[in-house]
Amino acid sequence: MKILYFAWLRTQIGSPEEDVTPPPEVNTLYGLIDWLKAKGEPYQSALSDLSVVRIAVNQEYVTEDIPLNGTEEVAFFPPVTGG
């Protein structure tokens, strides 16, 4: 599964994207976030306050926990400021 980071999340994580293979028991979005945070820094700090993070799964905004089956791409980013 591909994980993407944008804006300050990219800076904090230190990379725009990575490929991860979580274990089978990690089967929901929030499970994935906990699994990433368990890897320690910089994930722990970057994903500690989800109220300042927006999440897209397969390029669609997601606002609550969902099952991860069929997920190819998860993106974490701050609230948008274009225009």
């Binding site: 993407l4 944008f6 804006a7 300050w8 990219r10 897209a56 390029q59 905004y61 993106a75 980013f77 701050p78 609230p79 948008v80 400021t81 274009g82 225009g83």
Partner: protein, 149 residues
């Protein structure tokens, strides 16, 4: 129609292309967003726009589709740039064309309000004091978007 590009655009040319040959258009409204030299009390020297390729196009297309559902539009165009841009350069262009001005005005406002809160773009400001920082979400933008719910 939507376009995400790094190149600068020419508003006049885009209006001409959009309205060419259409005899039923009575109103064209355009909005151009420019890089200004200040934000929240700091001097700004340039902006760099980052975006999420793929999702950006999807979101902009959905925003356009919603506008076409809500108003009678003959055509509309959203161009949003990414990359580094200097003060006075255009960042975003919205053009709406309709038989009637009310539809064109309202749709243009709606497109910008939704774009500012839904399209995955982020602004990095370079400041006159040598610092740089990501622009934070504005509550006024969120409030403006809410009125269309």
């Amino acid at each position: 129609m939507i376009r995400v590009q790094s190149e600068i655009f020419d508003t006049g040319e885009e209006i001409k292309k959009l309205t060419a040959g259409a005899t039923n258009i009575g109103a064209v409204v355009t909005f151009t967003g420019l890089v200004r030299d200040f934000n929240d009390g700091s001097g700004i020297t340039s902006l760099t726009l980052e975006h999420y390729p793929g999702m950006t196009e999807k979101e902009l297309a959905q925003i356009e589709e919603e506008a076409r559902k809500r108003w009678e539009l003959d055509d509309c165009l959203i161009i949003h740039r990414y990359g580094r841009m200097e003060v006075t350069e255009p960042i975003v262009l919205v053009i709406t064309a309709s038989a009637h001005r009310k539809d064109a005005f309202e749709a243009a406002e709606f497109l910008m309000d939704w774009l500012k809160t839904k399209a995955p773009f982020w602004k990095l400001e370079e400041k006159t004091d040598g610092n740089s920082g990501w622009v934070e979400e504005r509550h006024s933008d969120l409030d403006a978007a809410k009125r269309w719910e």
